[in-house]
Amino acid sequence: MKISTDIGVWVGALSALAIYSVLYKENPVYRLVENIFVGASAGIAVVVGVQTFQNTAWAPMAKGNTLLIVPIILGVLLYTRYLPNVSYLNRIPLSFLLGTAAGVAMRGSIESQIVGQLSATMIKLNSFDAWVIFLGTMTSLAYFFLTYRVTGRAAIITTWGRYFMMAAFGAAFGNTVMGRVSAAIGRFQFIFLKWLGM
């Protein structure tokens, strides 16, 4: 056993132990590390934000792309929410953010999530597996009819839709365990090998 003399390793290991302590109970050590971590990460976000602002807005504007003054003004308008008299002005940048986000979401979902998935489902039904995929997709999609109440015999379709979804959820759950345990292995390796030098 050769304990590390690197201060960084000590900080990393101790903070990991503090985080794990929450598994026992919420406690002052966890709370302190949590607050330091949140503070640091929010600070990092601000630093990166300022840097991005310099690169994508300030520098190009100084180089002559004067139009960039518009988003800067819009950005400043976000802060009018703190001034009751003119707080409605903050709707302008918000509508810009929302409208653009909506456009991006719309165009992206049609292609990969609808058309792509549907065309992948169109296969020859010449095997048991093909039938399972076909029926699974049809019934689980049918479950999501929200303005029609399915009753009587037809309800069996939505019931099976839920069964297929539960099967998929179970599979995804079981499949995820590995990644989560991997993360813990990474931390344990850090604690035992890097910090304690075992």
Partner: protein, 207 residues
């Protein structure tokens, strides 16, 4: 009136439409407008970060005022927040101090939080995977088979597990997953359309 109600609606409509049209149509002028819009959006989004920073400062300053500086947690948070910004902006992102905060505080603590999942995932499974009804039973069976099928030791316990796991992942899983994905995407389109068309103005504060 115009600025309060009409202008936000018009902006949302123009931005949303331009971005969509530019994606589907090969019209150079619209594409360049859409590109500008996207760039502008990212600039505005940076300013939103400032709102977050204001909120952080406000919340924790209030805590400090209330507890007369005895609140070491809020103090630690604010101190760390300010130090990180000072170091990051003053000495730059490649400076030693900033690297220390990033590599030795941010990354390992984040990884530790992430790895809590290794513990939580087991207790969640223990609690929920009970054969109470058909749905829970299906969840339990596919979940456990995949867990066993993923690791060598599990394969020794249930030798058929890898074959079943493959079948579950490649066949059984696909249908349910697709149903969720397609239905969700239809919802995305509807919400987006309502925002672009100005039918969701409440979101940005217009009643």
């Amino acid at each position: 009136m115009f600025i309060r109600k009409m202008l936000p609606t018009i902006i949302a409509f123009v931005c949303g439409t331009a971005v969509t049209v530019a994606y589907f149509f090969d019209i150079k002028s619209v594409q360049s407008i859409a590109q500008d819009i996207m760039q502008w959006r990212s600039v505005i989004a940076i300013f939103a970060l400032g709102l977050g920073a204001v909120n952080i400062i406000m919340v924790h300053m209030r805590n400090l005022q209330r507890d007369r500086l005895k609140n070491v947690y809020s103090l630690a948070l604010l101190a760390m927040f300010c130090i990180t910004i000072l170091v990051g902006l003053g000495w730059g992102q490649s400076s030693k101090g900033y690297r220390f905060i990033f590599d030795y505080i941010n990354v390992p603590t984040g990884s530790a939080i992430f790895s809590l999942l290794a513990f939580y995932i087991g207790t969640a499974a223990y609690r929920a995977f009970r054969v109470k009804n058909a749905e829970a039973a299906i969840l339990l069976v596919t979940g456990c088979i995949v867990m066993l099928g993923r690791v060598p030791l599990g394969v020794q316990i249930l030798p058929i597990a890898p074959k079943l796991t493959d079948w579950i992942m490649v066949v059984l899983n696909v249908g349910g997953q697709r149903g969720v994905m397609v239905a969700g995407a239809v919802g995305f389109i509807a919400v987006s359309l309502r925002i672009i068309a100005g039918l969701e103005r409440r979101v940005y504060g217009v009643e």
